[in-house]
């Protein structure tokens, strides 16, 4: 089952843009001696085969037709399961008929020796058991293989999506789709055929009953339609109740969660009784849901469980009459009993099947909605690799507006999308450090995002080493850019793996050297498991400053010629900020660096500072030049300095230009 990464990179057509980089991996290296192979999967072995099929992209087809390729990929398991379960059930249907004959022929009339039937029943039972085992295992195998395909298909699709998509969707919704919707589609695709087989068995059993006695067969079957109908009704009324209960349990959980996490506020304001009331109200709503659920189940489940018994009583009555008049053997009573019990389940499941189908179709639509989204930032067919980058970056007449792509139902909100950048120009020469300052929403972060092609410009172009970034492969471009963001995101893996995130094959020494340079080595060694300590959402909690230093070490290991710092110290307190500043200075040495900041103390050493306002550069120059100039930068700087000094308020606010934090985000 194991494949190497070579096979993995041999992804099919839709991934071809990147395989150029992979094939050249062995020979090409960048100026810094970084093998291009660093950005193809390394250090991981695929233990499972890539799914063979995915959903049919033709969105005009029905949901079932679109899912067909996935089922077809598992046709062997599928047909094994269907055929064997049919065989098993047919054998099972024989047994009551054999017992019927055994009683009439061996016990009542003594025409056939008893052991003849005993042997047959044993044989049929054994073969039926083996067929049942094989059909079930292949059925489950197919069910979980389909789930595997769907999950991986969706995940691969998500990794191809661009940022505009992630801006619009909520990850909670995506996860919920990945969880319950995949389940309901998988359940339907696998169990629907099986239930149909079981129902066909009901037909066979009915055939046997007809062959024994036509009138009695119809009498016995008289309650079956009601079982079917009740089963369907029951699911229909119980589904909403159980979802209602789930949503109300979530409310209770919310109250508890907030109470526990906000315990200081609750206690400070002596709000215990108020909280208890809130919980009691939420609990009361759950209670109503459960009682409603019980009442609805009470209406249906006794009917479903007892209707087949009514059939048995009728068989006893009419069958008894026929036996007395000699038109029916005793054994028939027994056979009818067995057949009726056998048919109860398929009739109930038929009702279930219809409900499952409705749920599955709604779930499938939600999954297809994701799969039908196309990435907007992709490699051009003739895209080339960026190698030996000098780190020369040029923005020429760049224009940009967020959210110009098509929107689907996942959209969070709508609204006009004014230009965030309009006619933006900037040239960073190799090794230069340039800082962008301005208030939130001025467009300064957008500059960084279009450079790394997280978004594509709406007008103008960004050049790296005189290549339009859109003519470069995404992987090679991003391999040449190291990014440190305002909220350092760490994954729930060891610190070592986090630092080596961009180069999973990095050596132990390289990781530790990077951590040392980032000023992180000291505290890492004091952690319970040192570099092997698992951090992130499900691991050890580090302080903001520690996380940021690891993020910087991560960028150092990547060793890219261009560095983007997007408000890298904004979320830190002053002490951590000082430590991180030192690490940043180490990171920027000898690299082209674009710094985005609102705390001016962090950028005074930059080669050039640009003040951005409404997407335009309104001032530029070195720190001292700008101070001398006495413009916006100077007043902004004075304001921050005074703020740090203390509260004495000499008020010359007429000349003060503030950079307020605007709540309106792009």
């Amino acid at each position: 089952m194991s494949t190497t990464e070579d096979q993995v990179t041999g992804m099919p057509a839709d991934d071809d843009e990147t395989s150029g980089a992979a094939s050249g991996a062995a020979t090409q290296t960048t100026a810094r001696g970084l093998p291009l192979a660093a950005y193809v999967p390394m250090g991981i072995t695929s233990n499972y085969k890539r799914p063979k099929a995915t959903v049919d992209p033709d969105s005009s087809k029905t949901w079932l037709r679109r899912a067909f390729p996935i089922v077809a990929a598992h046709k062997r398991s599928f047909f094994t399961a269907i055929i064997l379960s049919f065989v098993g059930l047919v054998l099972q249907v024989q047994i009551p008929d054999l017992l019927n004959h055994a009683i009439d022929n061996s016990l009542v009339r003594h025409t056939v020796p008893l052991h003849f039937y005993v042997d047959w029943v044993i044989a049929l039972g054994l073969i039926g058991g083996v067929a049942g085992y094989l059909s079930r295992t292949s059925l489950y195998k197919m069910a979980y293989a389909i789930e595997f395909d769907l999950r991986n298909g969706i995940y691969e699709h998500l990794t191809r999506m661009s940022f505009p998509f992630y801006d619009r969707v909520q990850s909670g919704q995506l996860i919920s789709r990945a969880n319950s919707d995949i389940r309901s589609v998988q359940m339907y695709l696998t169990f629907a055929p099986l239930i149909l087989v079981q129902c066909s068995i009901a037909l066979v059993a009915f055939g046997y009953m007809l062959s024994i006695n036509v009138e009695l067969a119809f009498i016995a079957m008289v309650t079956m339609p009601f079982i079917f109908w009740s089963g369907m009704r029951m699911r229909k009324v119980l589904f909403p109740v159980s979802w209602l209960i789930q949503s109300r349990l979530a409310e209770v959980a919310t109250v508890v969660d907030e109470n526990v996490n906000g315990v200081r506020v609750v206690k400070s304001f002596a709000a215990e009784e108020q909280q208890l009331r809130q919980l009691a109200t939420a609990a009361d709503r759950v209670q109503w849901g459960y009682i409603k659920d019980a009442d609805l189940r009470a209406r249906f489940s006794p009917v479903i469980q007892n209707l087949s018994q009514v059939g048995l009583a009728l068989v006893l009555l009419f069958g008894g009459y026929m036996v007395i008049h000699g038109t029916l053997g005793f054994g028939a009573i027994l056979a009818f009993n067995a057949y009726l019990l056998m048919m109860q389940a398929p009739f109930m499941m038929l009702g279930m099947l219809i409900m499952m189908g409705q749920r599955a179709s709604a779930s499938a639509e939600r999954i297809y909605e994701i799969l039908d989204e196309q990435p907007t930032v992709v490699d051009r067919p003739e895209a080339v690799d960026l190698t030996d980058s000098r780190g020369d970056v040029r923005f020429e007449n760049v224009r940009f507006a967020y959210g110009t792509e098509s929107r689907v139902a996942l959209s969070v909100e709508d609204g006009g999308n004014p230009d965030v950048l309009s006619d933006f120009n900037l040239h960073l020469r190799s090794g230069e450090t340039v800082a962008l300052v301005g208030r939130t929403g001025s467009g300064k972060s957008t500059v960084a995002r279009v450079l790394a092609r997280f978004y594509d410009v709406t007008g103008g172009a960004v050049y790296v080493d005189d290549h339009d970034v859109r003519d470069l492969t995404l992987t090679s471009l991003r391999a040449n850019i190291g990014v440190v963001l305002d909220e350092p995101f760490l994954f729930s893996v060891s610190i070592r793996d986090n630092i080596a995130y961009g180069r999973p094959d990095a050596k132990k020494e390289e990781v530790e050297a990077a951590a040392q340079a980032a000023g992180a080595d000291g505290f890492i060694r004091h952690l319970p498991a040192g570099y092997d300590t698992v951090v992130g959402e499900r691991g050890y909690t580090l302080s903001g400053g520690q996380r940021q230093r690891i993020a910087i070490a991560r960028a150092l290991v990547k060793n890219a010629p261009i560095i983007l710092l997007d408000e890298a110290t904004a979320a830190l307190d002053s002490e951590s900020e000082r430590h991180v500043q030192e690490a940043i200075a180490e990171l920027c040495r000898g690299r082209t660096t674009l710094v985005i900041a609102h705390r001016l103390a962090t950028i005074t050493h930059a080669d050039c500072i640009l003040v951005v306002e409404s997407g335009l550069v309104v001032e530029s120059g070195r720190h001292e030049e700008l101070l001398r100039k006495g413009g916006r930068y100077a007043s902004f700087y004075r304001l921050q300095l005074r703020e740090q000094r203390g509260p004495e308020r000499e008020d010359d606010s007429e000349s003060v230009v503030r950079f307020p934090s605007s709540v309106v985000r792009p």
């Binding site: 009683i103 067929a131 909670g172 979802w243 508890v256 906000g262 008894g320 997280f454 999973p504 959402e537």
Partner: protein, 642 residues
């Protein structure tokens, strides 16, 4: 606050109309195709007012009783008795069929000279028995459903009330998850057990007894042989299956948890993933994780593949035994034909009870385990207790006194030693010092989150341990370091301390702290719902809301823990202005992390190593040339360097 059932939970300001539900939990919302059904259901829900539960720090005698399943059920003796009666009726009525068939065959169905009248009567009895058992099942589901939901409701309130009594030291980060699972999954376990489990346990147990009794009265020898052949292997197989599938279930559950965690992390870290070109690596990693989950599912699939057909096969074996042994007995006239029929019919009915009993036993075990866990939770005693003879603290003038106060979270490691300090009414006192010096601890003693290990903390001469918690805390205003917002509207958050406050009062608070502009910008104004602890607001805005909340409480004493993280300039200015309003004419304890804040105070205390090092105004302390002067000098030089 909890109106409406269908919020999709998009998050973000303006994401939903006021009052939409906000499932912040893993629950992802009701699927749209079921929404109509849910809405229909909700039309049947009667209007019920807010609950009228009351809270007191002193547990009642009932609440002190040890938690047990039987104790919980005994509260409703009538319902319990009714449930037991219905269970007995079900067990007998559903098993009458085969016996009636036997009687009909033996006494009514001789070909040619049968007694059809008897057959008619027996069939009528059969139908009647079916009707009785149906009616009893109807009643039982309703009765046990009610019993279970009542008991669960009682339990939720009891546990939560106990949680409200527990002191702050209980709620460490690690315990938050534990508390959550007690209040959710453990109580849910019991719900399952009580609603269905116990009744099923009783019904199936009785059913087996009834069947065994029928078989033995019909024919002892055949009964012994059948039971020996069928019951032990079926029981063993069921136990094996239960154990193995439990193992499998744990694997599956862990597997899906890993799959979803990996997915969730890939989504929230998407910027880092993209920036580091990790997509392909992650695809392979995710495939490995999904693959392991699939293998866990294969395992349970194979178990089901063995158990289902296996127990069917045992059923066939049972029938073969009856046919071979019973058939021979009939041929030798040791057994009537009707009795043989009864054996055939009953042997199939043995299977369901055994399988269900094995399953229910598991539910029972889980339920018991949950009871024990809940009992342990209830055994936690609050470390800060309200004295039984506590008096109400009269309106505070605001003189706070620490008298020889020593304190340690762990008594062996003192955090504060012999502190003596008086804060005068209306004074603002700033605490400064290094992290861990004990300044936050002093504030926690004022709010009585902890009690001193030695000495006393007094407000207006009242020892805090001698007054009721409510009278103390309702006169204190606390602004924590990280402002915590509750799910709900901005209005609910601001009026947290006074939920019944009139609109004017809320607006007054909004204006005073300078939130007016923000509220005007929000789509639903004050009724805008904040999601995910207010993540849609900036951290400065969250702090302003927290200040408005403190202002609403009109506290006599204010305790404020300054936020450590950097705010942008305008937010800082706004918060300072709000603080000025808030500090007016109040005694205030200010835990300052920045000297610029400390300087606003009337006096400053420097705390270090659990002691008070220096005390005085800013100018006095600078002149003193001690710790404070040194801190001030470093700070000034840093701002210049910048």
């Amino acid at each position: 606050m909890f109106g409406g059932g269908g919020g999709a939970g998009w998050g973000g300001l303006g994401g939903g109309p006021p009052g939409a539900a906000q499932p912040g939990m893993p629950f992802g919302g009701i699927p749209s195709e079921l929404q109509a059904g849910v809405d229909l259901l909700l039309t049947q829900e009667p209007e019920r007012g807010e609950s009228d539960v009351t809270f007191s720090h002193q547990p009642s005698a009932d609440e002190k009783r040890r938690l047990s399943l039987s104790g919980l059920l005994k509260v409703y003796p009538g319902m319990l008795a009714l449930a037991l009666l219905l269970v007995a009726i079900i067990a007998v009525a559903t098993q009458l069929g085969p016996w009636l068939t036997e009687t009909a065959i033996n006494h009514g169905m001789q070909p040619g000279h049968g007694n059809f009248g008897l057959v008619v009567i027996l069939a009528a009895v059969y139908l009647a028995a079916v009707a009785v058992s149906g009616a009893a099942q109807w009643g039982q589901v309703r009765v046990t459903g009610r019993l279970a939901s009542w008991v669960m409701n009682d339990l939720r309130i009891t546990i939560f009330r106990h949680l409200q009594r527990l002191s702050l030291d209980f709620f460490t980060e690690e315990k938050a998850g534990v508390v959550m699972s007690r209040m959710t999954s453990d109580i849910e376990n019991l719900q399952q057990l009580l609603q269905d489990g116990l009744a099923q346990f009783a019904v199936q147990g009785l059913t087996m007894l009834v069947i065994t009794w029928f078989l033995f009265t019909t024919n002892t020898r055949l009964a012994v042989i059948t039971i020996v052949v069928v019951i032990p292997p079926l029981t063993l197989m069921s136990i094996w299956f239960k154990r193995a599938s439990e193992r499998g279930y744990v694997r599956v559950r862990d597997g899906i948890a890993l799959v979803l965690a990996d997915l969730s992390e890939s989504l929230s870290g998407v910027r880092v993933v993209t920036a580091h070109n990790r997509q392909r690596y992650n695809v392979v990693k995710h495939r490995n994780i999904v693959g392991e989950y699939r293998d866990a599912n294969y395992f349970t699939g194979r178990l089901n593949g063995v158990y289902g057909p296996g127990s069917q096969l045992l059923g066939v074996v049972g029938q073969v035994v009856i046919l071979a042994v019973g058939g021979n007995m009939y041929l030798h006239h040791q057994l009537s034909l009707g009795a043989l029929f009864a054996f055939f019919l009953y042997v199939n009915r043995f299977f369901q009870p055994i399988q269900l009993l094995v399953q229910q036993y598991n539910t029972y075990q889980q339920g018991q385990a949950s009871v024990i866990k809940l009992r342990i939770l209830l055994d936690n005693e609050p470390s800060v207790l309200e004295a039984p003879d506590a008096v109400d603290l009269p309106p505070i003038r605001g003189r706070i006194r620490f008298e020889h106060v020593s304190f340690g979270y762990d008594p062996a490691i003192p955090v504060l030693e012999d502190i003596d300090l008086t804060i005068e009414p209306g004074e603002t006192m700033a605490f400064v010092g290094a992290t861990g010096a004990g300044k936050s601890t002093m504030a926690k003693l004022v709010t009585r989150f902890y009690d001193p290990t030695e000495g006393r903390v007094l407000i207006d001469g009242y020892d805090l341990r001698a007054v009721t918690m409510k009278s103390l805390r309702s006169q204190l205003g606390v602004v924590p370091q990280e402002p915590f917002l509750f799910a709900g509207s901005i209005r609910d958050n601001i009026s947290f301390a006074r939920p019944d406050a009139p609109d004017d009062a809320v607006w007054d608070a909004v204006h005073k702290v300078g939130l007016t502009d923000l509220i005007a910008r929000l789509p639903y104004g004050l009724d805008t719902v904040v999601h995910e602890r207010g993540q849609s607001l900036s951290s400065g805005e969250r702090q302003l809301v927290a200040l408005a909340r403190a202002f609403m409480a009109q506290p006599r004493v204010l305790v404020l823990d300054e936020a450590t993280s950097n705010l942008d300039l305008q937010s800082e200015t706004m918060i300072e202005a709000a603080l000025d309003v808030l500090l007016q004419q109040r005694t205030a304890v200010l835990i300052a992390h920045r000297l610029s804040t400390a300087m606003r105070a009337d006096r400053i205390v420097v705390v270090g190593d659990g002691r008070l090092l220096e005390l005085g105004t800013h100018d006095e302390l600078v002149a003193l040339g001690g710790h404070y002067a040194e801190m001030y000098a470093t700070w000034i030089s840093q701002s210049h360097a910048a």
